[in-house]
Symmetry: D3
Subunit: 280 residues, 6 copies
């Protein structure tokens, strides 16, 4: 169950509103690297968690924190859009500053659809998509999904930090960058708790590994037509990272035949010319 309070988790201050920057911030709200995704991802992982409850409890803690981050970013968008009115240098169409801003790189829907507020979309106006919410039922796979989300999320946040000179915005982003750091460490800590790389892999570790094809399960397969030699890279020689095999190097080879499909069935209404004997 959830509660709120009116204050923000961290101060959101915009010293000089910038409607173009508002558009960029949308990527951190409704983009695939954004906060709606991690919020729903951690909460769905919690709500579907099976196994030791401590992981579920932790996911609830952080999933809830992420709602507060969406809130901060939406507030930042709204404040930056206040700049859609005023402080315009070029006076060509000075009677209509909002329109000028749209022409200058602002998301037009920030005005047309939202009346100068945030939307559940990315920096190009593409809506948030629920398919991005990964909760697989396998805790280790989910932790990698989470590390990945925080890694791309922190990368996005640093690029946003780079894209503004506004001290308030830089301060807010420095907070979010720090939280993304913690969250990377947090999910890595669960992976350590689950046994570390050697204990965790291959994911899922509950599938009997002797049932996988033993001839290719640690082979780096080169598809290069020039048939290069083993580069003796970390991934093509020596012990595998999971400690359960030895990396080898192979050229791809066809272990299967050319596939042969049956002719079309009558009810499929292929062309008559497809109904011939399949060996032609």
């Amino acid at each position: 169950m959830f509660y709120h309070e009116k204050r923000l988790q961290y101060q959101v201050r915009v010293d000089k509103p910038d409607p173009q920057f508002a558009r960029l911030l949308q990527q951190a709200i409704g983009g695939i690297e954004g906060e709606i995704r991690v919020c729903l991802q951690y909460l769905f992982q919690a709500w579907g968690n099976r196994g030791p409850a401590k992981y579920r409890d932790m996911l609830l803690e952080t999933g809830t924190e992420e709602i507060s981050h969406i809130e901060m970013l939406c507030t930042a968008v709204a404040l930056n859009l206040e700049g859609a009115k005023g402080n315009v240098i070029d006076q060509v169409v000075s009677e209509n500053p909002v329109v000028e801003q749209i022409m200058g790189g602002m998301d037009p829907r920030h005005y047309l659809s939202a009346g100068l507020a945030a939307m559940a979309t990315d920096a190009n106006g593409v809506p948030f998509n629920g398919s991005w919410v990964v909760a697989s039922g396998n805790l280790a796979a989910d932790m990698y999904a989470n590390v990945m989300a925080e890694a791309t999320g922190r990368t996005l946040a640093t690029r946003l930090w780079q894209s503004t000179t506004d001290p308030g915005m830089k301060d807010m982003l420095a907070f979010l960058i720090a939280r993304d750091n913690m969250h990377q460490n947090q999910w890595l800590a669960v992976l350590e708790d689950l046994g570390g790389v050697e204990g965790v892999h291959p994911i899922p570790n509950s599938f009997p590994q002797d049932l996988e094809n033993q001839s290719v399960n640690y082979a780096f397969v080169s598809t290069n037509i020039e048939r290069p030699e083993n580069p003796n890279a970390r991934w093509s020689t020596g012990a595998s990272i999971d400690g359960k095999g030895q990396f080898t190097f192979e050229h791809i080879r066809a272990m299967g035949d050319e596939p042969v499909l049956a002719p079309p069935i009558k009810e499929g209404y292929a062309q008559k010319e497809q109904q011939l004997d399949k060996i032609l």
Copy 2:
């Protein structure tokens, strides 16, 4: 540049065609855990790779292999759909076995749209979505995206393995499960090559870490209204996983004020009642 040959990377044999299983296999083709996603993801990472060329070369190798996996799975779908004709027990509508199969769990579009062949969709007929292709320009973030893709992909493959009793399909899936194992190890090997967990994190490691907010960058923040004590879990006490800080445990607290937005601008055509003095 790319080449093909007509034979398959691994044998695809369907002993007893099963149109319902064809539907399930679609998840491994056009689903978020599927092969189109990893194929495009590795290739886009390669084509956009900046920095040491050895990583680009390796991404090309494996991205190309994944095309062969899509091919195997599409062949498997087509062969399983041949079962949409025949071997029907219930004879209620025996004059139309394809229709019976649709009623029994087959994807109707396998017949209606594809004439008994695979589609670029998931197990529910939802189309593949290009937003799933992650190539961030940060190599470590991308490697986590890849481990995550292979972890959820191998989990999916084991569940598909569980969902069939067909020896040919089990054999094909045992091959793909093995390749997913290798690929998990392969991307982990790159992470080791890039410095291991301590060298890699926080991602991106090129952002000066002293610019992130130092007060919250290793703090586990509890949002639980009951204000629990530190559980002394791996993620709330001791050295951080990246070796660059100490985990602490805190209760969430409002470091920001209640946000105050300006009244709506006239051009936004809010209701007149919103135009009042904002303090009410």
Copy 3:
């Protein structure tokens, strides 16, 4: 800022797990009538609210409550999916009860992608889409969006109530149906507070109404080729509902000419045959 506690807002009890019903419940989670939509919709309206703060405060209250409803429904899905194992009558493929359930109407991704837990999708596996989150910056328009969401949401909930015989599920749905009732009333109360129908319409009421085309702003326009007479319905005669005009009845008529577009520009690479004189 947001908090959680571990208990649920209302008891979720599944007396007899039913994986098929789990699929139906997804419509109330990730469907257009579902709880993710209203949750984000109310919160985005709050975060972008301009004007009297009392509306923002109320939106925050209820937006937060809706997170608790998503949580209840996700828990209900997970509990119903526990029925994916066991209690199977037909023993044809009795060694694999999960697969049987998939064949019998369960969402296959509940097993394949989520390991028996809820997803951010609708009853057909179509992902939640951020475009459904309406926050227009006009408070009255938003309130109608909210009444509409609760009206279709309560209709969905009654149909779900009808679709189960499980006492626990019926009890949970009776709770949600009641909350949807309250929320319908709540948004209507805001509309009353904003001036009632006559004060609120036409939305936006801040656009000078004399600027709209006065000849058609209260005319019911019939497009029926048989040119029916005025049915003297509530919408074609008498005072308009907003009290600002009189309904009239008209047959549609062309007030514009046939449109004439310029020939294609050379740079558009139309066919040469399109480059002729436009009057042919």
Copy 4:
């Protein structure tokens, strides 16, 4: 059955073509507030209408009118795009005026994909999505969906009106703004016809109201952690808007327990570490 004539419902005149404004107009064509949505929405409601035929007839009338509005807007887009050639001030790349316009805020697909014509997308190029077409089978719910569509649609139209100084475009928009006014009134008239607010609510009014949970069906639930007092707002005290209850004010409280899910089933291939006894 449907007919057309070549003339437009209302004159579409563009005095000074403006490719950037063409982009903005797309929101009124293929956006969620746009005319394709209301056109299909009213027609689908008509085609699925069950109950008194007079509502179906009226929905057909107005659904058909909306096709004429799509036509007007598409014509307006095409005419504005004629400005993609010529009247360019900055001569830096004067040999390629189309490209200059793209750089200046035009939708590049208006040139690249459509050859200077309208598309079935919104102002950001996001395609129209059929999920926006609401036809619930409950007439009152549908009427609220329609009022909401016309309210956000008219708000959009006023913002477009604000975004242009072209007299022809302002005239066309003044027509559409007027029609949106009429349509708001029209759907409200149906609601009055169906019994007015007290007769209509709660929607659906055919579900026996005594089956909903009586303890929470008129309670405003505060989720504010500071536990505020009843603000005695219209929505927290006094008679409910539907006349069937009394508003009360409550703080949220957990009426449910902490949820307990079963451990993962073996066939779900969770990590081994999740298979432990669930009480940890």
Copy 5:
């Protein structure tokens, strides 16, 4: 401008309602091969048509006819869904026939979201997508898009015809199959009118053909690693279909170098390890 009448273009009669067939019919409404797509496609092509008006006029004629086809199919869906109540053989859950039907292959949203009526989705509940509406500004390209739409559309219609034994439905589909035949011929007639294959191709024929790379513009390029000989197929030898060249047969060869990208810029926050000298 558009008109309607209440009668249908062709009789829609359902002798024995079949909710499962209603689901299949959705593919012809909101699927990529469906009637919403061709309706909007022809109308958008008409509204954006530049060049001789006779093509625009014809597109308007047929685009309008397609609205009548959507109407017929939506009516057919609604009538088939009336079968969601009654005639149930298995009495296990006989107190709830709608639910039984959902379990038996009906689209659950036909009940949950639409109250037994059609939706703007395909047979899997995936919403119609505006990206399918092709109107390129090149008339010949558009005609091929139209032939393709009617070819896949007629194929779909024959498969639907095959999927029902209902005489009324077969009669309606025989009508639609005939119209799809006419429409195939109609768009081919435009292509003939535009000059036939030799006059039309290559599309666009207004691009000076001598500007395309002359060494590869009629070469069949084999990517087969086994380097097969010219099969002397229609597409690898002899005059090209457009009469403007001779087909040749070549093996693919790399005409470009290995690409070399610059190292990442500092502002992109790649990993530090990517910042090295690019030759490694």
Copy 6:
């Protein structure tokens, strides 16, 4: 099975990087007219091909070639984005050239999400969508889908050619324009091989044509309310293009009645007012 080599099929050279042009090139990668679509379309057609193997073999050849085209375009995008740093005229925000470029028309996600590389999206950042991949099981329908894809693709390529003055880019596009020419001819050659227009149509030609409604299968149906005379166009008089009928000209007429749907079922929870006798 697939192989690669490191060199490109054709040289990709960018003389003057242009981040705005990088955005335009995205349409040819992830847009509906783009190379991911044709690549997957040809490969899925090959993998599902039933009937003479020579068509499957040819589809594999060209599907594989298209991967090389995606690679070329992604390389071109990455090289053009190197211009996101440097050569900036306006020095207002000269400390941050990347941000300036975003403001000037660059896709912001090229920086924010991809670190200056290509994405699987179109020119507006809308993700590639698997629904565009057409493989119908009917070879002739598929060939028209392919001609259409190459016709809109070549039109796009000529417009891109027009949008740049960079000699390297013009050279690459001249190559792709030539390949699109060949591919148009190639798919037309298959159609000729299948019997030419008269042999191929109506598609599918395996459906007994006497089963389609004979009264309307070659009738041009006018929906124009002014009931024009037969224009004696190629599509309204004379022999049909498929040689199997005579074109006629008719005005649309209602061959069906006004549809009558049953009243709503109780379980659908329509409003009570809809439950009346349906004849009103």
